[in-house]
């Protein structure tokens, strides 16, 4: 008899240990599959000798397996190999042997659950659930989502977190419980800014492009499509203050959504930036605009001045416009009217806006797994890391669970954006080697960040984790002739004062004649 188990009251022969362990594993799995209360099982089974654990397990398993044979949730009914790999004659193909630290005489074989196998099953179950949702098979999807929950806890690290967030998102999609706007979203973004390099990379590369575009200008105006906490602008103001010849007069227009608590958040940010500008003696002006969507803006609201050079900056804002058709076109048309020196755009490098749910799901699973992997290595304190993960988890929820205008996280790849901007009359501006070197140095500062890579892609800069690019910075200016083939633009914005002749002249010119 095994001595250690005998101490706690069980009688198991040493030679039976492997078998008992295997049965325990099967019982645990079977209990996970049971939908009704487990108490029913314990009532039906009759045990005469509970210390004889081997036989007890045998009878429990027999009871459960006889019940589940006709269950609605028999996952073997799902065609294909998504859930079950082909029947393996050896139920425990890789028993792991652990040498116990105390006992030295006889080796005891201890079988542990193979977490690698569970990892593969986890991915398969996630995919199967998405497949079920694509064809709107809700009962199967529901059963699978519960499985995912169990499988996720057998994993560790990034895989566990990603699977948990995706499971939550799938559950929300199934039960139609859509996430409310998070009260803490500002705070979450701040933590994301602090723990990983993505936002800093975005700011530094965009600032370098803007700085170069403002070379030699004395009055400059930046329009920020998403001001948030204004973290991008102190560094630009400092770089402008240090340029030979002194700083230009700096004007900033910050655009943001209405604050959840009705506070005047944009004015607060403006005030902090004004204080900062004052300490480094840069002439500073600020205006804040509250707008639920960028498409609500008009160029006339910005009160542009004759002698100033304008830069338009958008960090992770353009993709939100894709929820409503024509919103992007309207915003790009407003940008054209602003006639900026440069338009800087930072976006996620992924296609999360395809028409099919399954493709979107697969893409986002890969993308966010990579993002979470990169966070895993960073040695920041666990609370901050957790906040960043919640920030990303919200995005996952939006991509997977929401539809229509609610789904704002409609990421598209750099090439897709290139086509959009090119057909809207913009030509690319190459980000120079200064931006590249700054970005590389920045990444070298992140401990545990050996996996970060900066790549140059036809003048655009991409930040990635190992081989997977994750975000892309690009810069644009108005194309030399802003006519484009055969497309006729009605001049919406100046209809009041223009007379018909002037309007006609503009139209003809724009046709590229």
């Amino acid at each position: 008899m095994d001595e250690l188990l005998a101490v706690v009251g069980y009688k198991v022969r040493s030679s039976d240990m492997a078998e008992v362990a295997e049965k325990l594993e099967r019982l645990e799995e079977a209990m996970g599959n049971v939908e009704e209360g487990i108490s029913e099982l314990s009532n039906e089974a009759v045990h005469y000798n509970p210390a004889d654990i081997s036989n007890w397990l045998e009878s429990m398993l027999w009871n459960i397996e006889k019940d589940s044979a006709c269950s609605d949730y028999d996952l073997k009914a799902i065609p294909g190999k998504a859930i079950y790999a082909p029947e393996n004659p050896n139920p425990n193909p890789n028993p792991k042997r652990l040498k116990p630290s105390t006992e030295s005489q006889s080796t005891r074989a201890v079988v542990v659950v193979d977490s690698q196998q569970n990892g593969i099953r986890l991915v398969h179950t996630l995919m199967a659930c998405a497949e079920a949702l694509e064809i709107n098979n809700l009962p199967v999807a529901e059963a699978l989502v519960k499985q995912i929950g169990f499988l996720a806890v057998s994993q560790v690290g990034a895989m566990r977190k990603v699977a948990t967030y995706f499971a939550e998102a799938l559950a929300r999609r199934i039960y139609r419980v859509f996430p409310l706007h998070h009260a803490l979203s500002d705070s979450l973004q701040i933590h994301f800014y602090e723990t990983c390099p993505y936002l800093k990379f975005a700011h530094f590369t965009a600032n370098q492009a803007i700085l170069e575009a403002f070379h030699g200008k004395t009055r400059v105006h930046v329009v920020d499509f998403g001001i948030n906490q204004g973290m991008q602008w102190p560094a630009l103001m400092q770089a402008l203050a240090l340029r030979p010849g002194g700083p230009p007069a700096f004007r900033l227009t910050g655009i943001g959504p209405p604050a959840a608590d009705n506070s005047d958040h944009l004015q607060e940010v403006g005030w902090k930036l004004a204080q900062f500008a004052d300490t480094i003696h840069v002439h500073f002006e600020y205006r804040g605009f509250v707008a639920t969507s960028l498409a609500d803006l008009d160029a006339s609201m910005l009160q542009l001045r004759e002698d100033e050079s304008v830069a338009v900056n958008s960090v992770f804002e353009f993709h939100r416009l894709l929820a409503r058709p024509a919103a992007v076109d309207k915003v790009l048309s407003v940008v054209r009217h602003i006639r900026p020196e440069i338009l800087t755009v930072v976006e996620q490098e992924a296609n999360h806006n395809g028409p099919g749910f399954l493709d979107r799901f697969t893409e986002s699973l890969h993308y966010y797994s990579t993002l979470f992997d990169s966070l895993e290595g960073s040695p920041v304190n666990p609370q901050d890391k957790a906040m960043s993960e919640v920030y990303l988890g919200k995005q996952i929820c939006n991509v997977v669970a929401c539809e229509g205008t609610e789904r704002v996280e409609r990421h598209e790849t750099l090439n897709q954006w290139r086509n959009r901007f090119a057909s809207a009359g913009f030509s690319p501006v190459h980000l120079g080697s200064n931006a590249f070197k700054q970005a590389s140095t920045l990444l070298a500062l992140f401990a545990g960040g050996d996996g970060y890579r900066v790549d140059e892609n036809n003048g655009c800069l991409m930040l990635g984790w190992h081989t997977r690019p994750l975000i892309a910075t690009s810069a644009w200016q108005l194309a030399a002739n802003s006519g484009w083939d055969g497309v006729f633009e009605m001049d919406y914005w100046n209809t009041v004062n223009d007379n018909a002749a002037v309007l006609l002249h503009k139209c003809v010119w724009k046709l590229g004649v």
Binding site: L242, L442, L445
Partner: protein, 154 residues
Amino acid sequence: MWHEQRGEEEKRRGRFFINDNVDILREILKRLDGPSLGVAACVCRLWCSLTRSDDSLWEHLCFRHVSSPPPASVRAVVVALGGYKRLYMVCVRPVLSRLGHSERVRKRVWTRHEVQLSLSLFCIDSYERLASGRLAGADASASSLMFLCNTVNV
């Protein structure tokens, strides 16, 4: 007390005592590297007050190894944002150590990108402190630069 008496005795004997020649002391301190400057601050009250109050010592430390000297306008900005000592403690020292360069290596030359990056990070730090209303004391590092701090294993 004891060493002041000794100083007077030395004077009477006409011997050189460094604390009587603060300008020479400054020139020497200017040439020290970071850790040595920290040690020097522990020697006596005079040396301590010098290292604390004289920001130009730290300026030399920060930009000693820059390939081309930074423009004069840098000083106004750095002083306005908190001074060279803070720049060194909060940005230059962690950046150097992350980039794998020992503070005692004298031949390492900073590129202007590294200088620019340090200044940008220093700005962000100052902006955050301004924004939080100078809470948590002047020496506490603001959170944006947390990624530069090494975690402590508790």
